[in-house]
Amino acid sequence: MSKCSIGLLALSSLFLSSAAIAQEKIKVGVTATLEGTYTVLGEDGMRGHQTALNVLGKKIGDKELEFIVASTDATPDSAVRAVRKLIEQDKVQILLSPLSGDEGIAVKNFAKTHPELTFINAASGAQETTYVDPAPNFFRYNMDGAQWQVGLGKYAYEEKKYRKIATVGEDYSFIYTQVFGLVLEFCGAGGQVTNRQWVPLGTKDFASVIAALPDDVDAIYLGLGGADAVNFLNQYQQAGGKAHLMGGSIMIDQTILSSKGNAKNALIGTIAASGQADTWEDPGWQKFVKAYQDAFPPNKRFPSPSLLATNYYDSTMALILALRQVNGDLSNNQAKFKEALAKIEIDAPNGKIKLDSNRQAIGTNFVTEVVDDGKGALFSKVVKVIPNVNQTLGYDPAVFSKIGLPSRTVPECKKY
């Protein structure tokens, strides 16, 4: 009897306390690719998110943030399923989602069916997400794939003297956007892109793709990520490949540069461009790297945060700072919060970020080169920093809209 009453007491106090807390919580749903090809990227994204919470704290005035995490596998339907679950079952008010390009487009479209909620993009970088028919409640604090390639084409043409290149990329929107940015600039400078190969996301056996690479090019651009990139490099090495390489933003990234095995060594000297550079000396960046390193033991993290960690950090930062500006006020369909989000300018570790009228980030881009630190660890060394990169890549919006949307064959290799 006494046991039973104690149990009941404990149970009821549990209910009471949870009810008491529930009033002061703001529920935020987070998605990351914790399954499939991009698992490693999702995990490091979550580390970036956690780092932001460590630095900024979870308190919004007298309320506290509660995060609920859902896993996706980089496919659009998995993202929508996860977001739907977070909204309908967990009753979240704000979403920090998603990670990958195709997911971004799907979640943006889904966001329109819930205009009362707020969606903050976590890391996805397809151009279409914010460029075509943007959702008024979808905010993106990272640049898109094309913005992340700014500077690479010119650097390859002018400094490296590459004249003809071929590309290999995963067959989905983010890589289309990356190749879009590269081709525009490289062909604009006078270079030629002779061949574009597309492989399905999650390809394991690249041997035939490697065999089909043309011989008569100066460099091969790799727009791969996660497991695909590691498999490609491994098999490229086994096939005795020797070409110069260029890399996309998730190819030349700690997710690949610190993979196990020695296939990654094929990347030493590879030039790339991304929204961050591992060895940037900016104090804000160094502080972030330190916070990331301190937050996790060395075997549970990368030597330096990946692009995904940085993106999740930035978007979490924007979310918390904007919520604090309005003191956690989510009344009137979160109108005040959305306004604050649209206006906020964040001093992110990878440079200042503000939003344009489509709620798309304008930020800083980095051209990098992969170096060995002498102890076997690879880092991307900053070569060039390009501030204020906007979504139309400096083109006049009218000209830009004529180029067309990124796809397997767009843009054509010519000067626009």
Binding site: I210, N234, G261
Partner: protein, 336 residues
Amino acid sequence: MSRFVERHPAWALIAIIAIAVALWLIFAVWPPGLEEAIGRKRVFLNAVFNGITLGGLYFLVASGFTLIFGLMRNVNLAHGSLYLFGGYVGYAISTATGSWLLSFIVAFVLTALVGVLLQVIVFRRMEGQDLRQTMVTIGLSIVFADLMLWACGGDFYQVQTPNWLIGPVELPLITAVKSSGEPVYLRYPMVRLVIFAASVVIGVAMWLALNRTRIGMIIRAGVDDRDILAATGVRIQLVFVAVFAFGAGLAGIAGVVGGTFQSLSPGEDIRFLLASLVVVIVGGMGSIPGAALGALIIGLAEQLGSVYIPTYAIVVTFLIMVLVLAIRPQGLLARR
């Protein structure tokens, strides 16, 4: 063979022509017109070789699966987990000792042990209850996947290729003739050839063991009629455990192979389970030659598909499966 020709002369003719065309495509120097139409010969040859070597890997995984199914009617949907487990073990051993060959032995032994446990603890308790076995093994595969994620994280692991296997080797197959008249030979990754050779050796050894030894005889008898075999005094449970251990061990070896020329990460278990299911469905449940043929077809389809119709490459394997299910639902080489 001759009976097949007598019964289906038209099919036999088509098969002979197809083989002749394939041989010509592989050995002849391509005329310029053909190169223009379907691309360089080097690409084609590479795709064919890759398909065959990939088929070798699929065979290693699927043969264990089909062996277990053939004898015990157990659909072991945790087979992919055994593959991934073997791969991780192989990685740990090869980084700890630096020996690639040792990693195979240890991976085989450890996965075989897991197989024994599975058989004794799970399958023996629910003999003959297909649905229960299927559900339990699905559940187990999820549990295993999470345990491995917990232990190894979501990183990509690659088993280190030994130095003597790195790099390409020149094969006596001409891919093109230079303008000077000098032939260009095909260069192909050494490691894939070795792996393919190993899977052929294993396949042939398995076939011999099944068809020429006493133990093979017992297993074949068990496939045909378990109860009568048990009634003749054979200790059937012991045979079951041995076969299960061997099949699981093969999956473990395949894991090391897969970790060497591809990579290991969460999700691979499901991928290889699916691959071996497709292979076994195409080849015929329970048939070792069927698994070999199915693996070859699926490997070739994947690789040729990724080169010549990249957009639809993923669909091709499943199309083949659908076709086989529609025309010959028991599988290409199934006996019944």
